[in-house]
Amino acid sequence: MKAIEVSHLIKKFGSLTALNDISFSVGEGETFGFLGPNGAGKTTTIRILTGVSRPTSGTATIFGHDVEHDTIAARQSVGIVSENSNVYDDLTAWQNLMFSAELYHVGRKEREEKATELLKKFELYDRSNDKVHGFSKGMKRRLTLAMGMVNSPRLIFLDEPTSGLDVQSNLIIREVVSDLVRAGVTVFLTTHNIEEANVMCDRVAIINKGNIVAIDAPESLKKTIQSVQSIEVAFDRNSTDHLDELSHLPMVNDVRKAGDKFKIFTEFPSEVIDVLVAYAHLHNLKILSITTLGPSLEDVFVRLTGLQRAGDGIHAID
């Protein structure tokens, strides 16, 4: 049985189409990434899958339970970590965990053991009995994750779990997620961070403006991503004539003019730098500046959808 099965999901908010007929499935034990910029529809998807929001049309099941009509059964073995650290500031870390466990009908002995284990895992154990309102952002985030795991879920939704966090919290969270994966838990993770999707996921769906643009394993995604690494170079004479010649240089995938610079896309930035130096030499050009740029989500979208850039509403975040 699939952990998640989504079929032709459409969600409209008034005239805005937040999800435009998306379909995908996630196998048990899989780590599935939902990669997309702000406003892509990631959170909306999770809210529908957890029965908080109702789809305009289409269906979704969690372990075979319809999320709309068999909601409570669908939720029972699911953990939810929302993008806001929605913990109770006026309760202690321990009380937050107990409350979360009680909502999921976890027995007393079991929830106390689980909470202790999780507090240790997330390095919050010595703060167990402190009220949460003194916690740092990273600590609240870690507690939110612990609360999402206190019912020992078979499937966990992580909505941008590491976004905007300190390094230490990030490391702990990534470690815990790999533990979950090893334990066979299905993970549905949203992110706008390409690197995170690459490192953590078995398969990645790229979503933009409510459309799934591609679903792929990170290896092939990586190829796409690597192909959009780029070099920005400015010569002392920036004639557009170079555009064509540059695009025929070895290892160059694409060239675009960006202001007074050329943006050259390639899998092999350091080699192409050598090539460019040679090219400049040959044409008696001076290199005024040269920078390598990592892949941006925007470039990946452009690559995948063949969209042209400028003004189409895609915003790179990283």
Binding site: T50, V52, R75, N84, N86, L91, F99, L103, Y104, H105
Partner: protein
């Protein structure tokens, strides 16, 4: 139901001591009472039943209209909405906390009556039952108003107060129904406070407008109406 209890416990821990809840749940009925008591010639002890009734109304209906908008704002409400509990458990859990809160608070005027004014109680058991049903009725009313999908406490509170405040005057609490014009008496019939107050009055004096049985039936009908409407609204507003 364990989910409902968990929600109620959480509310007790977090909201029972919040200043705005204390003001609207305790101070408000107290000041109302004092202003009426001072203007009246009746011995203050005879005002105790009415004070208990309005204290129950205000305190029971003050928790959810504060806690739910706050929780919408900080997104903890989403936890409750996404938990494997029925909407019915969620709504009753919310009402349960207001219910327990007001029973606790109403012990205050009860104790003042006994200790300070030596107000006699004719039917103690009926007093207990009347307080329980009145408390639950207004707790459910609070939950019902909190269904309005806002993150702003003030919005819910002002809607609620446009209903709660007039109820004091049309429910025979301080002005006996018999002293009111016919139209006022008609309106009183659609106020749950009329029946709660009437039954409490009966428990204290043995005299009342309706029979306690009718009072309790009316309170149950109001509770059912509020609960069903609340369930419907929480579902509806949850896009």
């Amino acid at each position: 139901m364990s989910g409902a209890w968990a929600i109620a416990k959480k509310d007790m821990r977090i909201y029972y001591l919040k200043p705005n809840i204390i003001v609207s749940g305790i101070m408000f009925p107290l000041f109302m009472f004092l202003s009426f008591a001072i203007g009246k010639n009746a011995p203050p002890g005879t005002l105790i039943p009415g004070l208990i009734a309005i204290t129950l109304m205000f305190s029971a209906s003050s928790i959810e209209p504060v806690s739910i908008p706050i929780e919408r704002r900080v997104k903890t409400f989403e936890r409750l909405l996404s938990a494997p509990i029925s909407l019915y458990s969620l709504v009753s859990g919310e009402s349960l906390s207001g219910f327990l809160y007001s029973l606790g608070i109403a012990c205050l005027p009860l104790a003042i009556g006994v200790i300070v004014f030596h107000t006699p109680i004719v039917h103690a058991l009926i007093l207990a039952i009347s307080m329980i049903f009145t408390a639950f009725c207004f707790a459910t009313l609070g939950t019902l108003f909190a269904a309005y999908p806002t993150e702003n406490v003030g919005e819910v509170m002002s809607m609620l107060n446009t209903v709660r405040l007039p109820l004091i005057f049309i429910s025979g609490v301080f002005i006996p129904l018999s002293a009111m014009p016919v139209i006022g008496q008609m309106i009183a019939l659609i106020s749950p406070l009329t029946y709660g107050n009437d039954m409490i009055e009966y428990a204290y004096t043995g005299k009342s407008l309706f029979s306690p049985l009718l009072d309790i039936m009316m309170l149950i009908i109001f509770i059912l109406i509020f609960q069903v409407t609340a369930n419907y609204l929480y579902k509806k507003f949850n896009e």
